[in-house]
C-alpha cells in the first residue's frame, strides 16, 4: 500500500531517466492523444467539458445550500449569533424563579417585574474580563433612560450565576462599583441550582466553569417585556443602540 505523495505527474516514476529524455514531453502528449480519430476526440472533449461544468456547478450549488442552511441564510456564523437570532425569534418566557438580592430580600421574578420592563444581564463578581465591562455598559444604558420611566415602567436586574460565591454581602459591595442603587437596579443571585439552570437554558446563557474558579460565558443585554417574555436580546457593546431601543419602546407605550 504505497501512497504516492509526489506533487508531480506520476509518469516520471514509471520511466527511467534516459527514457524520459528520449521520449520527451512530445512523446507523452502523443501517447495521450492516441485515443481515436480527431472528430471522435472532439465529441468526447465536448462531452467532457459539459460534464465538468455540470459537476462544478452542482458542487457549487451544494456548497451554497450547505452554507445557507448552516448559517441561517448567511446571518449566523457563530453559534452565539444563531442563538441571538433564535431567541429573538422565539421570545421565551422568563421563568418565575426566586431571587435573593444584595439586601438579602427574597422574592420571585414575577413579583419583581410585575407589569414592568426588565433589563437583565448575567454576570459573576469574580470575573475580571467581560462582566465589569458588561455592568459598566449597563450603567450607561441606565443613565440614558429618562428618570420618569425608571422604577415605574422599567427596572434593571443583574443576575449572578455564581451563587456559591456571590452572597448578598459580596453583591452589595459589587453593586456600588457601577452605581446600582439596589432598588431600581438590583443585583441578585438565584440560589436554587435547578432554577438557575432553567433560566440559563431558557435564555441560552452558556456558562462553563474553567476549574480555576472562573467561568467562560457569553454576555448580552436582555430586555424582558411586560408580559414576562423576552422581547429582545441586544449586543452589550452597543450602548447607545440599546438605550435608544429601550427608550423607543417606553415612549411608544406612553403614546398608546
Amino acid at each position: 500500500m504505497s501512497i504516492s505523495l509526489s506533487t508531480r505527474p506520476q509518469v516520471h516514476h514509471l520511466l527511467k531517466r534516459g527514457e524520459t529524455e528520449a521520449i520527451g514531453d512530445e512523446g507523452l502528449r502523443k501517447g495521450a492523444s492516441d485515443l481515436g480519430p480527431a472528430i471522435l476526440r472532439e465529441v468526447i472533449s465536448m462531452g467532457e467539458n459539459k460534464r465538468n461544468t455540470i459537476a462544478v456547478m452542482a458542487v457549487l450549488l451544494f456548497g451554497f445550500a450547505l452554507f445557507y442552511a448552516g448559517t441561517d441564510g448567511f446571518r449566523a456564523f457563530t453559534a452565539e449569533s444563531a442563538r441571538t437570532y433564535d431567541i429573538n425569534q422565539s421570545q421565551p418566557a422568563f421563568p418565575d424563579v426566586t431571587l435573593e438580592d444584595s439586601k438579602e430580600r427574597t422574592y420571585t421574578f414575577d413579583e419583581f417585574a410585575e407589569g414592568k420592563y426588565v433589563f437583565v444581564t448575567f454576570m459573576y463578581t469574580n470575573c475580571t474580563t467581560v462582566c465589569p465591562q458588561l455592568e459598566m455598559n449597563m450603567a450607561q444604558v441606565y443613565e440614558q433612560i429618562p428618570n420618569d420611566y425608571i422604577g415605574e415602567d422599567i427596572v434593571f436586574l443583574s443576575i449572578s450565576f455564581d451563587p456559591e460565591h456571590d452572597d448578598p454581602e459580596t453583591l452589595s459591595k459589587y453593586r456600588t462599583y457601577f452605581g446600582s442603587n439596589g432598588e431600581t437596579w438590583r443585583m441578585a443571585r438565584i440560589h436554587d441550582k435547578e432554577e438557575l439552570n432553567t433560566v440559563l437554558d431558557k435564555l441560552g446563557v452558556i456558562v462553563i466553569p474553567d476549574g480555576n474558579g472562573d467561568f467562560t460565558h457569553n454576555s448580552a443585554f436582555y430586555l424582558i417585556g411586560k408580559s414576562g417574555h423576552l422581547l429582545e436580546m441586544m449586543d452589550f457593546t452597543l450602548i447607545d443602540e440599546a438605550a435608544d431601543e429601550v427608550n423607543r419602546l417606553l415612549e411608544s407605550e406612553e403614546g398608546a
Binding site: D210, G211, N212, G213
Partner: protein
C-alpha cells in the same frame, strides 16, 4: 508486507489500543486520573494567600479531612498529621520556592507540587499506621531531609 508481519502488527496495535482503553476507562469512568488541579497562586505571596495563610488539618465532613499544606525547602507545613482510619483526606498543596514532590510511601499518593500552582490529591487511609511522607523531586542540598509523617489511628 508479509502475512505474518501483518498479523503481528495487527495484534500489537490491538494490544496498544486495549491498553489505552483500560487507561482511559480507569481515568474517566473510575475517576482514577492523575492529580491535575488547575488553580494558580503567586508563589512569592503564599503566606498571605487563602487558604495557605493557615496551613493545617481541617475536618470538612463526616470522616472527611482537608490538609492545607505548604512545601518549602526542606519541609512540609503542617508537619505531623493525624487522621482517623478510614478517613478520606484531600491534600491541597503549593510550593513556596522550588519544585517539590509529594509522595506517601506505601500508597499511591504521588504528586508534583510546583511553585505558582495549587495541587490537589485525595486518598482514603484504610489501614492504621505511621506513613512516611517524603519529597521525591530534587529541591536542594537538604532534599534527603525533607520528610514528615502521617499518623493514621
Amino acid at each position: 508486507m508479509h502475512r505474518l508481519e501483518e498479523i503481528w502488527l495487527g495484534l500489537s496495535a490491538g494490544v496498544l489500543v486495549l491498553f489505552m482503553v483500560i487507561v482511559g476507562y480507569q481515568a474517566f469512568a473510575l475517576g482514577m486520573g492523575p492529580p491535575s488541579h488547575k488553580e494558580t497562586i503567586d508563589p512569592q505571596k503564599v503566606d498571605q494567600t487563602e487558604p495557605f495563610d493557615k496551613p493545617g488539618v481541617y475536618e470538612t465532613g463526616e470522616n472527611e479531612y482537608e490538609v492545607v499544606m505548604t512545601l518549602q525547602a526542606f519541609g512540609f507545613t503542617p508537619n505531623d498529621i493525624e487522621v482517623p482510619a478510614g478517613a478520606e483526606v484531600t491534600f491541597t498543596m503549593t510550593s513556596k520556592d522550588v519544585s517539590h514532590g509529594f509522595q506517601v510511601a506505601g500508597t499511591n499518593i504521588n504528586a508534583m507540587v510546583m511553585p505558582g500552582h495549587i495541587q490537589e490529591i485525595t486518598h482514603t487511609f484504610e489501614e492504621p499506621g505511621n506513613y512516611l511522607v517524603l519529597c521525591n523531586e530534587y529541591c536542594g542540598s537538604g532534599h534527603q531531609l525533607m520528610s514528615t509523617e502521617i499518623t493514621v489511628k
